[in-house]
Assembly symmetry: C2
């Protein structure tokens, strides 16, 4: 008998509870997240009537009809609050969360079912439109919230409520006769079930997750059978635009929801980007917890295809606003894009899972790239405004004169809220849980993936080891790690050598060491005593980055990157017509920390040129001339765009050689 | 009393009958137009059931329900046939036209009304939805066809039918009580009425045209009142996408149809591009025939705004596929564009009218630029395939993976036909009537605007003058004109010095002359005897053209132009990833006439570079390197794109200096 290859994680993820983010950029973002973002989101919920709907006070004809996704917003918000409460004890917030949980418990049906929308709007249509109505998706987000709140506070009430609900779902869905042989149109419950399994040890949650993943993409398609049961002929309605949207010509029916093929046969990211990320994350979870290497193999193939052909330099993914989806290899338009914040959050989640299998920096690099650029771009500096679409270039006139197809969430810049408000609580829970992404443990040590002031205490071969990190990263490349094992012992401290960095040094107790590098990590194996200090010195010059020749929008252009941060130019610093700027001398760049700007930021000033419009009076085209005006180009980190005056924004800038005009 | 300034035409347009296009590029296009395009279009009409509908043989429930625009297609097709019959006597085609006309006459109602769609589909809804249903638009195109056929053949039948129809319309529309105080949602009848007035001398047609133009944009808006009469509250339905489409945020209600403001107050081209061009043409016609300078002033303002800020280098206009409309100043995206063929045909019509007022080459330059690029792009070399959207850059994958919003006419490349088939017969009538655009007469002579083998006979101060043009333009810049006055006499031959040309010489009977240049025309005033020969020698180097710094898509790029022809690169000559090509040495260009390629064409070969993808395995971004591979870039005239293998196409190409890498 041939033994199946098994999926084995080289690393073990740590809990978000194991890391205390002490300060620095992420510490500051957590502070704002706790004191501004999370409370203000609750206010938004109240304003739109979510809490009244939760209490079942809404009646037909009232304004603020509940939206099918509202439960999921509460789930993510509770999860964010739970993560944040572990760091910032806050009785008032906890009381607020408890009041939401009480209402959920109060309104859970006797059979365990809970869904605000269906309760109030379509009580007779439960489980009849998995394709479109996000019922299992909402259950998943509530379950994630329940697990987090239980782990944060030890209170079981919400966990018990959600276990009863999941038991109900388990009784309704599955391969057995009489059950629904289906799955959700928006993946989410799959990864939530794995979390619930890990928190409770109940294997049926793991099995149900596996069922949903394994069932997906089988023919005849569940969504088609389900539609027929509702009396909708999808074949016929495919001619209607709304439905056609979910039929991708190149991939077939239901590719928008990644259910065109069994997941193990999927080779390229297609369809709705957030759904894809949540599904790939669940595939990695199941690979880890069931040792299913076929799922890991599929995930790795999808990973390479995504990161090598369909990911923006900012970690943004999903360029098409129509269907919020992937398009095709190397199609990465900067201005006509979408890049939903949630999709990049999903990418961070997936990257973190993939990282544990291979302990390879390629996953941590993408995680860092995505966190520091698109994810942070998703929330304003002040913490209560958001972006849904994360453009790489903005020309505001385009939106002023836009067609009706530009809806609120596509407007560039910051928004207090959205009609579909998935992104704000998603970014809140990500920031509140950032600590879990920073470290992992391995059989013989501890891995440091991300750099930020923080402290973690983990178990290494039975020894409690506290690691304290001090750094001004990402503004500076010097990182100090103090190792405090309970007992001095030999183990490995693996320190990531970021892919963006061309030269790094490592010191232990002040002495440079020549550590081996394995999969992009410095492997510092030695006998560690209390107070040993590791220093990582990362060269952090400005890099001019080019993109693959097939990325048609970026030919002849470069992006500016310093450390993990991609930079952008804004109109407020550089006047209009940003696209006409070109860099001419990358050897002379002023790098400056501006404490008073945007909550403290390293800005860049570079020598550039632009054409003056004054000589163009009345002309639109003319034989090429090369007179240009020297200008200083000022750049700020991309994640800080749209925090000042609205205007143009640009990442990819023309790059001319510095030999002057000819 | 202050005398109002009057609009006065410096030039008189000639009739299409006055010029015989003998050969050359336009002669060849006319030949293909007559023997392929016009007959094959009639076949398309038959295939889709237009002729059966015209005969009123269609019944509810039958396939091929008549489309509201079908009458207009017949109108344009008859007009094309009429123009072409004047050059190519063709009894078979004439019989076919007569049969169509017989059916129109047969089915004209006793009160003069004629509309196939309303007769068959909504007989009770005549004149109730001017806003949307193109009723007057169809009447206009039929009238244009009737005038042309009368002038071509002397047969009055169709002209009489259309006069009766216009008399019916005149009785229904106007300022008098009891009449409809309205106008059409798609302008067209206004210019048709001027043609009918000119052909018949009936002033009521001119007055009705003036009424439609003067009424437009008055408040309360006719379209709103009309909607209310139909029971549609436009204010309310403005929230529905379909209607919002016609409400342009920056311009207000009905700007899509250029009826947001009285025409004399309109300063920028807005809304649907074809409607705008037809309206501006009518405004110029009315300015000419009523000496209304306020209309001319408005036209000139609109002209400058359009040509200086919203026109592609190809003469394409109207970048937004949503609403087929203009967007905002300097918004000229190459790939995400529309540029309907009909809009550029309308631009040629308007340019020709404006040219007569000022005898200024700026109008003739745009006319030429548009004709040789976007208009000719609208029909395939073989003459029976068309483009509706005329992109300036094509990446076919975009359409494979496109959303449902990409409809047939937006697919790049050639199409046998379109669901809305306005463009094919429009390009047919333009090509068949190209002769009229070549010359004008002035008080003391003759103006030569366009260059092509041709012969025209016009009246100059009572003297019949025949002018014969021989040239291999646009492939070569040598133009010969032989002047044959009936009687030797002094007059002026004005010869256009094209704006694209940086150096030109003029010879008379072999001797170089130093002729004065007025508004871009060499003014050759002398005593002309039979057989005098004028030679115009235009330098025709390859020009690298840049666009205004505010055209954000073209910064760092150039377009290649030779004479009036804009060039493009196609995948079939240059492999994929055209956007990564860059020109490095514009001093060494191979210019070659290839007789066997695309019906004979001057191609260009330039030294360029591209980045090789081979060194990128697995990478999407990397620190910039400058290794590039030398390549030859082959370019063909833009108007010939999409006549070979489908693939990428590009006009604006990266332009690097030739100093090598650094």
């Amino acid at each position: 008998m041939i033994r199946q290859a098994q999926a084995v994680q080289k690393l073990a993820p740590i809990s978000w509870k194991d890391t205390n983010v002490l300060g620095g950029l992420w510490g500051r973002r957590q502070q704002i997240n706790h004191f501004v973002t999370i409370p203000s989101q609750y206010k938004r919920f109240e304003e739109r009537g979510s809490f009244e709907a939760l209490k079942r006070n809404w009646k037909a004809g009232d304004p603020n009809a509940p939206h099918p996704f509202w439960d999921s917003d509460f789930g993510k918000w509770i999860e964010a609050a739970a993560f944040s409460l572990a760091k910032y004890p806050d009785p008032e917030l906890e009381k607020l969360v408890d009041s939401v949980i009480d209402e959920i418990a109060e309104n859970q049906q006797s059979d365990g079912y809970f869904n605000t929308y269906f309760d109030l709007i379509e009580p007779d249509k439960k489980w009849t439109n998995l394709y479109y109505m996000h019922e299992l998706y909402c259950a998943g987000h509530l379950a994630e919230g329940a697990v987090a709140y239980y782990l944060a506070t030890g209170k079981r009430k919400f966990l018990d409520v959600m276990c009863r609900y999941m038991d109900h779902i388990d009784a309704r869905f599955g391969s057995e006769p009489g059950k629904i042989h289906g799955y959700c149109g928006h993946q989410e419950i799959e990864l939530a079930l794995v979390k619930l399994y890990r928190a409770t040890g109940e294997e049926r949650y793991l099995k149900l997750s596996k069922y949903f993943i394994d069932e997906r993409g089988k023919q005849p398609y569940f969504f088609e059978l389900e539609s027929l049961q509702r009396g909708v002929d999808t074949e016929k309605t495919a001619n209607q635009q709304r439905h056609l949207k979910y039929y991708l010509k190149e991939h077939g029916p239901y590719a928008e929801y990644q259910s065109h093929l069994p997941v193990r046969e999927q080779e390229a990211p297609v369809g709705h980007a957030v759904r894809a990320m949540y599904m790939y994350s669940a595939m990695a979870d199941l690979a880890a917890d069931t040792q299913d290497k076929t799922l890991l193999d599929a995930s790795e193939k999808l990973w390479d295809r995504l990161t090598q052909r369909q990911m923006y330099i900012t970690g943004g993914i999903g360029p098409s606003s129509d269907g919020e989806r992937f398009t095709f290899d190397y199609d990465l338009p900067n201005e006509y894009t979408y890049n939903e914040t949630c999709a990049s959050i999903g990418l961070v989640m997936w990257a973190h899972r993939m990282l544990q299998f291979n302990a390879d920096r390629k996953y941590a690099d993408v995680m860092e790239q995505t966190l520091y650029n698109t994810v942070l771009s998703g929330v304003s500096v002040n913490g209560d405004e958001y972006s849904y679409a994360n453009y790489l270039a903005v020309y505001p006139d385009r939106f002023k004169y836009a067609s009706t197809l530009i809806i609120d969430k596509m407007m560039p810049g910051r928004h207090k809220w959205f009609n579909v408000a998935c992104c704000p609580p998603n970014v809140a829970r990500l920031i509140a849980s950032i600590g879990q992404y920073m470290y992992s443990t391995s059989e013989d040590g501890i891995y440091v993936h991300l750099y930020n002031d923080s402290e973690t205490t983990v178990d290494v071969k039975g020894n409690r080891v506290t690691l304290t990190q001090q750094t001004n990263y990402p503004w500076e490349g010097h990182i100090g790690l103090t190792i405090m094992p309970e007992t001095a012992a030999e183990f490995t401290v693996a320190v990531r050598y970021p892919g963006w960095c061309s030269h790094a040094e490592v010191k232990v107790n002040g002495n440079k060491v020549d550590a081996p590098i394995v999969n992009g990590y410095f492997m510092l194996n030695r006998n560690w005593a209390q107070g040993d200090v590791v220093e990582l010195l990362l060269d952090m010059p400005i890099q001019l980055v080019e993109s693959h020749p097939s990325v048609r929008t970026n030919s002849g252009k470069v992006a500016l990157q310093r450390g993990p941060l991609v930079y952008c130019m804004e109109e407020t610093d550089n006047a209009r017509d940003l696209s006409d700027l070109s860099l001419v001398d990358e050897t002379d760049i002023k790098v400056q920390y501006e404490a008073d700007l945007l909550d403290g930021v390293v800005t860049l000033e570079l020598k550039g040129q632009r054409r003056e419009t004054s000589s163009w009076e009345g002309q639109l085209y003319r034989p090429v001339q090369t007179q240009k005006t020297d200008v200083l180009v000022k750049a700020i980190p991309y994640f800080l765009w749209a925090n000042r005056d609205p205007g143009e924004m640009l990442i990819w800038i023309n790059h001319n050689c510095s030999c002057g005009s000819h």
